[in-house]
Symmetry: C5
Subunit: 252 residues, 5 copies
């Protein structure tokens, strides 16, 4: 459907290095090395990630010519975690992403939020523009259920499956989804992203074993890859865990 | 009024296969066969449905050339059931529907919702564009009453009649309406969709007898057809129930 | 000010047949004859009404060439009574009204509603477009006071006078206003629609005597006419009450 | 800054006749003479007011060629007092004001209202357009404090000074401000409208002595004039109080 | 990245004179000298500030040709402190800033406010336009936490660091941030504004010693300068404190 998809995958699989936490979570995720986008670009380059995702301003400033071989996904929308609203709006345009040579764009939709409709509307316009120019569209499909037990619920397999499906029906080329509380349902979840590639959202830093196990489960269930973030750049040896992840995605 | 109406009807009657549940309800409606849009396209094709309704992304990807003889209605708006707001916004445009060769567009209006006005405004713009290019406009006229006893009320015959009428007055070519609690009022309900065709929304999966009976009542009351969804593609033998339905709509 | 005003009046007086209840109230206002817009067009034609008001879709479908001698006012906005919001938005455009040959447009403003500002803004744009093309602009000036005793208050003479005045200051050519609780204040009310014609909103079906008395009072107070709706088309003999009304408006 | 300012002042001073109460307050401010805009135009003309302010529709209909020597300020926004929201939106455009030959435009900003931001945004666009075509921009700077003691507070000198300052910083050529509870602070208030002319909002009808005293205090404090409304046209002898006011503004 | 940055810095350091308090706080910040923008322009000129920030209307009127050597930053958005909403909207455009010869634009974002998304959206459009024409973009990054202890929290070092980071990720060339409660964390805070210059928001008037100490801490931590406001123009000898500040920023 989208020929540019080939630019961000290897043998049909995706290993994305994700770095949109600066806006989403603030510096609390960072240390004296990984606060700097060039450190991230180095990991992406040396770790042979198939793509790298950043907010536009970081991509514009730090995705230097020497990193041009790492395809860029510009994360177009975002919000801080300081406010009460689950509304993520664009802070850069598809044109700007094209202007710096990006291969695709990323966009978060908080399904179930009071503002779901507004994000669907904006996503659809972004999707239309991006596809017109041959860019890959990756949807961060994050449920945001507004009842008290929200944090728990959002990882229920049924909700993750719904998120995957919704991303597919909204026209994303790739959906980035959360790890479900019931991993045995992963095949069903991924199957529902019918016609769309599903990649695992790496989530919080965990142990190497735990992380690699999750990636394995996801790939075995039919997943197309993983978006590694804190598990790589918060790791004391990013290339070590990257190597382990890579071997899961592209086993010999 | 709209010559394209002929493309989605046979002898003035409509049998639509509806498949917008992936976004509206999530995968909980699906099993290992019907999660896939091609399975649906196959049913539509073999079952001789007069049209098929899907979200844009599914239509774009799975309404393959081999299904081109089944006219497509692109459902332009949608929402998940995860959030609190009864607001359905477009996730694709009339231009995009035209771009893939659709015969018409579908749009849900939640009458009585806090956001009724916003959906009427968006629907009206869609209607204008669609009619300019000769596309059929089908309105999913769904009351969404915000009082406690909501779920019950929405099937009251008076409310269904109101929905049918509102769809007609807003310029839909076809209104898709719910089965009323008082089926004896169906003639009055359908009459009120004056100048507009009324089709029955199939609703949840029920027994074959019950479903066929409802379709009979609806057709006898002057209805123009039915939108079959879960009653066909959740059926172990979709073509069996399709055949039965078809015979009700076009009796020999 | 607006030469088209002549097309909807006779000797400076207006007798409008109003039929926007299908969207506003639903079929509960209808019976087996008056649910059909052609029945209304027949009354308008035979009853020598100076104009007829309908939603766009009804006008487009049922205001057939044989009724072309009855000038059409396309009611551009509307809402159902099912929801909580007093917000009426356009479901058709001035261009569409022009496209079917209308003489004017109608628009409801719920003064005092939470959404007053939004309707004033939209009305003003409609007024501008309509006047640019020589269409008459008729404002349904309906107070919608959001305090508990709302239904009573909205007929207080002071509120009706305010509504008339506001319509005039907002640039309507004609204001359609409610019958006040204190009819002795009608001259003051009508005077305040300075430079703008005031017509009486017929309201619910009442007895012939009562209705004719109200019209008399209104005309004697300086009114420019009446918008008859349910009092005509819910009447067993619409032409009988029409005749009586006509004689009040244009006495010999 | 704005050469058109000369058209609405005499020796740098402004005496405006303000008549936007029909929309803002309704007919309760009127009697059998002053309900009519021509009566107001007559006062403005005979009383040698330096300008006259009205809603667009009144100006369009009643500011006849014989009054062309009285410069017109079209009040572009407004609201009724019937609703809960302190939001005043435009009901006419700068282009329309230009189209009837106005010298300037007026716009109300309710500072401190929930909708302050919306009015600042709309005002700024109006200011931009008006200045592009050489029209004077007059801001009705009215605090609308949403705490219980609102009505009292809004006349506190500090609040009036803030209103004057805000109008100046937002780019108004003239700010129309309320009389403060602490008139001894008028020099400070007016000084803060730096680079912008401050005129007194006449307010409710009061005694001749009281009104003239307030105007005197305002002019002595450095004010540029006054906007007289009800104190003139509710006066049994409008030209009498006008004459007295004029002598204060332009003493021999 | 932005060559215009050179116009507002000296040896890579910025000393801005900030004067947007008239709209933000009202005249309560002013006395009989500093209420006047020319007084501010004089301080900026004589004190050798590297730039001056004002609302558009003040800049347009008082940034006279004789002050042209002081680069102007037009503060494009603002709000009063009278209302409940933490929403700051533009009252002038990038085009207007360019029209008077400004070197850059300023924009406040209240992170964590209910309206964060709206300000991010508007800021992003401003950033795009400003960069297209080579103007510097300075973001006033102010957290506005909506919990009871709001005023305290907003100075927590973690929140200030988040603000700095968010400004950088949103594409500002310079972020203006608050002094943190834990000054020992300033190096970390400033480091997180990666690729973007951080300047200290001077805040309320304090003692000379205190102010100079804060500036020293900020510069030692890697800061790019300071935005002095009330500490300069509320000072009895503005050039005295300016001189002291300047020596901290550009030590010999």
């Amino acid at each position: 459907m989208n020929r540019n998809l080939d630019r961000i995958q290897r043998n049909g699989k995706i290993m994305m290095l994700a770095y949109d936490q600066g806006l989403e979570h603030g510096p609390e995720d960072f240390d004296s090395k990984n606060y700097h986008p060039e450190y991230i670009c180095d990991i992406a380059s040396q770790g042979k990630y198939t793509c790298l995702a950043m907010q536009y301003a970081n991509a514009r400033k730090f995705w230097l010519p020497k990193y041009a071989h790492v395809p860029m996904i510009v994360k177009l929308n975002g919000k801080t975690k300081l406010g009460p609203e689950a509304l993520s709006v664009t802070n850069a345009s598809v044109d700007e992403a094209i202007g710096i040579g990006a291969s695709g764009v990323g966009f978060t939709i908080y399904l179930g939020s009071d503002h779901e409709a507004e994000m669907i509307r904006e996503f659809s316009e972004i999707r239309r523009q991006a596809h017109r120019y041959g860019l890959v569209v990756i949807a961060w499909m994050y449920p945001f259920i507004t009842k008290p037990s929200s944090n728990d619920d959002e990882l229920e397999a049924d909700i993750v499956a719904y998120a995957a499906r919704a991303g597919a029906e909204l026209g994303a080329d790739v959906v980035k989804i959360k790890y479900p509380r019931q991993p045995e349902k992963l095949p069903w979840i991924i199957k529902n992203a019918v016609g769309t590639k599903a990649i695992l959202s790496g989530g919080d830093k965990t142990s190497d074993e735990d992380f690699v196990l999750k990636v394995k489960q996801f790939m075995n269930a039919g997943g197309a890859g993983v978006a590694v973030g804190r598990n790589a750049w918060q790791h004391p040896q990013p290339l070590f865990i990257t190597e382990k992840t890579r071997k899961v995605i592209w086993p010999e």
